[in-house]
């Protein structure tokens, strides 16, 4: 069920991968529940509850929901930083691009981007050469030797994205990548990301609280309820790229998603309100 027509139009897909994708999704979260210990208390906070969501290979899945809906927990499960309490998490190897760029201030931009290569024991020169090639391709040329402190917020996010790409992992987990940017830079970065993924196709799980961003970027949007998070609706975004936030179709989908979010609202944890969830309800 995650495979149908979800592949973006302009991402050229390796036919072999496409065949594989039909049988095995890149991300498979099935009926996952997860709780973490309450801060300062002895209790537990349920972050995710019976969460079911899938992403096909080279699909961009956006997970959108209110703050504190367990989105970051979801990414940490996907990246193997935590184990779920129950349910099955099956994912391709994933690299995380955290909310903050977390660039290392003692490395230049290009060395930050090449971090994964250095960790993979490539020589410094080779790692730099490979990162520089991507800098060229992704509009960062000329900033190779800059220190992170010298870069703008948007540039830093780009470098962080290149670092994530160069991890060589087939799955990228982006946690609110543009959340800290101003509106203009964010719109630029969204265009940039679409473009970058066009050149370097990967499966992406993008977590955001910005519904518009989700619809502009994603092949599919999973709308997640307030904590404990669960998928209340999945929206297929079959629109051609590049998309503009002012397209009538984008606006219509945005309305739809916002309505779902509003109706999912805060609710007692024991109410099995799954009426809106279409996908994976039977699992």
């Amino acid at each position: 069920m995650p495979a149908k027509g979800a592949i973006a139009l302009q991402i050229q897909l390796d036919p072999e991968l496409a065949g594989r994708e039909a049988t095995r999704p890149a991300v498979s979260i099935s009926d996952v529940s997860h709780a973490y210990p309450e801060r300062g208390g002895g209790g537990e906070v349920a972050a995710l509850e019976h969460m079911t969501v899938h992403a096909a290979e080279h699909e961009l899945l956006a997970v959108v929901g209110p703050s504190g809906c367990g989105k970051t927990t979801l990414l940490e499960l996907i990246c193997g930083l935590q184990r779920s309490d129950s349910g099955a998490v099956e994912c391709l190897p994933a690299a995380l691009m955290p909310q903050r760029d977390l660039l290392l201030p003692w490395l230049t931009a290009v060395d930050n981007a090449a971090l994964a290569l250095r960790i993979g024991h490539e020589s410094r020169a080779r790692a730099r050469a490979r990162a520089s090639a991507l800098f060229e391709e992704l509009g960062l040329a000329g900033f190779e030797q800059a220190r992170p402190q010298e870069l703008s917020g948007g540039m830093r996010q780009r470098v962080a994205f290149v670092r994530t790409l160069l991890s060589g992992k087939p799955l990228l987990c982006l946690d609110e990548p543009f959340g800290a940017l101003d509106a203009i830079t964010r719109a630029e970065m969204q265009t940039w990301l679409t473009d970058a993924l066009g050149r370097e196709p990967r499966t992406v799980v993008l977590v955001t609280h910005d519904v518009e961003e989700a619809i502009v970027l994603a092949d599919r949007v999973a709308v997640v309820s307030a904590r404990p998070g669960r998928v209340v609706r999945e929206l297929e975004i079959g629109l051609a790229r590049p998309r503009s936030r002012t397209d009538p179709e984008v606006l219509a989908l945005r309305e739809q998603a916002l309505r779902v979010l509003a109706s999912s609202g805060p609710r007692p944890a024991d109410v099995p309100a799954r009426a809106g969830a279409q996908d994976g309800a039977g699992r």
């Binding site: 290392l104 201030p105 960790i119 220190r147 402190q149 917020g153 670092r163």
Partner: protein, 270 residues
């Protein structure tokens, strides 16, 4: 944008920056001179600054010869303290077991009166440079250890998570994130250590009988006081004072070279 404002302030030139310190020292020396000249102070108890300057001029060769062994002790002692302190900090950071083993001993080593240890070490190791180095290292490694342990632990846990998803090993996390992050703290520790190293050198030399002609400035001060040559003792102390300041700023300079990021405006911390 915030960054642009933070960076706009130009660095002032060095002479202007040193001016307040020079003024303060000049004022203090002037007050000292007046106090001694007008207060009818016995010159054996407290010489006037101009007499100290005279002693400095007349004994420049002697003082320089005595500075050499002291400087050697301090520099080697600091180097040893850096190696042991940094090494112990990494061991403590990596292993809770070693933390429980090393930390109490390290704290305990600071609680023992250092003059007592110096005397015991000299009794054991003789009058060479070894017991002096041991005393200085013993005093100095503690600030290096504590600041480095804190610096290593201060790394953003999110950073470590990120490195983990990039498949970094424990050693690589240390190498790429924790060690560079701890470097400014470790150098700060070394700067604290340096100031006490000079004290350590004095204590160590005080416990030593003369073996050579030039046994160090600490030894020189004691010998001069015994001989009631107070102005030369003050001159020797002055040399020690300037030496400590020079060392301190040399390290500060080294820090700018080794950890330039720690001196940039933080800009967007988040």
């Amino acid at each position: 944008m915030r960054r642009a404002i933070a960076r706009a302030r130009p660095a002032r030139s060095r002479p202007t920056r040193a001016l307040p310190a020079v003024l303060l020292v000049a004022t203090l020396i002037g007050a000292w001179e007046l106090y001694v000249d007008l207060g009818n102070v016995d010159r054996l108890v407290l010489p006037a600054p101009h007499e100290v300057a005279e002693a400095l001029w007349n004994n420049a060769g002697l003082l320089a010869s005595n500075l050499r062994p002291t400087a050697e002790e301090v520099v080697l002692g600091i180097a040893l303290a850096l190696v042991t302190g940094f090494g112990a900090a990494i061991a403590i950071h990596l292993s809770p077991w070693l933390r429980r083993a090393i930390y109490p001993i390290a704290v305990g080593s600071q609680a023992v009166p250092i003059a007592v240890i110096a005397a015991l070490l000299i009794f054991w190791w003789g009058f060479g440079i070894l017991p002096k180095l041991a005393v200085i290292t013993l005093i100095c490694f503690f600030p290096v250890l504590v600041t480095t342990v804190d610096g290593l632990a201060a790394v953003d846990p999110e950073q470590l998570k990120l490195l983990h998803t990039l498949d970094a090993s424990r050693w690589q996390a240390l190498r790429f994130a924790e060690l560079p992050a701890a470097l400014p703290a470790a150098i700060s520790g070394a700067r604290i250590a340096l100031t006490v190293a000079v004290i350590g050198a004095y204590i160590a030399e005080s416990q030593t009988a003369t073996t050579g002609a030039y046994a160090g400035l600490g030894h020189e001060i004691n010998a001069d006081l015994t001989a009631l040559d107070t102005s030369r003792a003050y001159a020797a102390a002055g040399v020690l004072f300037v030496f400590a300041i020079v060392c301190f700023y040399t390290l500060a300079l080294a820090e700018r070279r080794l950890a330039p990021w720690a001196h940039r405006p933080r800009g967007e911390a988040r």
